[in-house]
Symmetry: C2
Amino acid sequence: MRIALTINVRMILDNLGRRGYTARMAPKRQDRLAKRITARGRRLTDQRLVVAEALAACREAVSAQELHGRLRRGHPRLALATVYRALEAQVESGMARRLERSGHVSAYVACEPAHHHHLVCTRCQRVSDVDEALLRPLLRRIDDRHGFTVEHERLDFYGLCASCRRRAGDR
Amino acid sequence: MRIALTINVRMILDNLGRRGYTARMAPKRQDRLAKRITARGRRLTDQRLVVAEALAACREAVSAQELHGRLRRGHPRLALATVYRALEAQVESGMARRLERSGHVSAYVACEPAHHHHLVCTRCQRVSDVDEALLRPLLRRIDDRHGFTVEHERLDFYGLCASCRRRAGDR
DNA sequence: CTTTCTGCAAAGTATTTGCATGTTT
DNA sequence: AAACATGCAAATACTTTGCAGAAAG
């Protein structure tokens, strides 16, 4: 960032906006993103915000390469390596999750803080979150049945989302 | 296979044993593996059997590279590409599953035919299967709550297995 | 005999890293 | 000013493929 010597997050964000650095997101949401980026002592940079915004804007999972491809148009100097690093940082701070994909490529999806499990529509490719409350009973049953204490889990469900199902004549 | 012109699975398997091609597995189990390998019209080869045995023998997830590393000692001519192809074939016939791993490497674990979800111990790295019956209620709740019809899912639970938990002083 | 598989080597991709330089705190 | 992040290019994986010869059905 060249112009501002920065005073606070809001100022930075305003600057990004003025300089054409993606600022399509509602300011409030942008603030929230920025806070989450900086949460673990990480620094707020143009690049990280842009990547985080772009990922959050995606309804489906994307790979680092795809994201870079989409962003390079608006941000020709954004390096692929930076996208990788930014996504990895997001995963570490719980803002995103990594999914496996067919061709051995990993893909990322943005997470809501408490939502870490996904419903992936095999028709429209859209990803939505599973209501976490539904899982609690399962975790308890796993403990009862297997004596296994779940610390974290990775759940991805693939199938027909509500709207595709409707469109498909309710199956 | 050079010696036998092949008459039946059992003969082939015996040959493998005689020629030093890994045959540590109980014959019955080997038969079962062989049947699953050939299930979809695929052919039974030394390599596929060796890879399948090795994977089945692993209590934890391994990558294609690791497996190749372990096997090359006993089978110096086994090509890495063959291991990849063999594992992929196993995944396709439902004998194995692919898991994601930290370093963007995919790892594989052997599956029991009907068990496709895993409990991965974060301490001893051992993998066991989740009792599928526990999942049914969850799938129903997902449909109720989200209108999403699950076709298939990928569930990996990470945490403390029963024996590590015991050893760790019952948590 | 036909079809499928293997090994090898050669691509192709994907991902990570070193380092000089630029930015955020 | 100190700590950290970026870009670039180079180095590393990791995975897939083409092809000729070998093996299975």
